[in-house]
Symmetry: C2
Subunit: 137 residues, 2 copies
DNA sequence: TGTACTGTAACAAATAGAATTACAGATGAA
DNA sequence: TTCATCTGTAATTCTATTTGTTACAGTACA
């Protein structure tokens, strides 16, 4: 995870939670994140598929949360943007070597356990918990 | 962490632990990982600085572990190769926006807590624990 | 003195990520 | 009905990161 997807997704969702009653445009969101509006729409398209966000096209349209932020776990957001193993990819080692032949199995187990401890932690906090950190000013 | 550094480092250290009494050459290690020998030497140069490995130049030279594998925590290996925040980088949001101005502080806190839960997990296992998973065949 | 190594730098290639542009389609309002 | 304002999405370029390659100086054993 060397990209900014998690930060971007959480920023988007925080904004939508923070402005619960309005539809926010991709342009507005993009200017808050300081990112291209098309990229925002792309990331939102992913978050829509997963049911976090709904959109309205056309004049006056925009985005809003579909679920209560108090029910959205940060771990769900993590899974929504996760695209690669947390600890990086593995190599394609030499099967003729005792260590090479077995290491990816052991790495996979280790990575799974490590990632689980991280997601367990993220499970303890909701989007609502996160957004209530923000000072209204 | 979208690279294979952790897997590579752990592979190198596993080999050295597995062949405790011999000096292994970068060529040998590279062929087990299926990686270029110069890259192996480069990663080893990092692990040397941190005291995990010592080397001997010249004919018959190579690499060996300097510390007992039972005293090397997997969390130490993680820190040795860590180069970016685990959950990815943050954006450079708009300071004129209430959310934008504050989000990186909150993200940093969250990232720190999440990473800690992962490293705590890795702390529970040593290199020796890891290598004893390997069947000798 | 030759051979087998490490150490390291310079460079090239491949891949991934981010940014840009463009435009079709939807929708509300004048 | 027509205009302006949006979303949705694809195509493309740009940039950074990661990996791979080559080369060669320096070290040490035989």
């Amino acid at each position: 995870m060397n990209n900014a997807k998690f930060a971007t997704a959480l920023h988007i969702l925080s904004l939508l939670d923070y402005s619960k009653d309005e539809q926010l445009s991709s342009e507005y969101i993009a200017s808050s994140i300081n990112l291209n509006a098309a990229l925002v729409r792309k990331e939102i398209s992913n978050l829509k598929k997963l049911g976090f966000i709904s959109s309205r096209e056309g004049n006056g349209g925009g985005y809003s949360l579909t679920r209560a932020s108090s029910g959205i776990l940060l771990s769900e957001i993590y899974f929504a943007v996760r695209q690669a193993p947390l600890l990086g990819r593995t190599n394609s080692p030499n099967p003729a070597c005792t260590v090479g032949r077995q290491i990816n199995t052991h790495l996979d187990n280790l990575y799974a356990a490590a990632e689980l401890s991280l997601t367990d932690k993220l499970k303890q906090q909701t989007l609502a918990d996160f957004t209530k950190n923000f000072d209204p000013a």
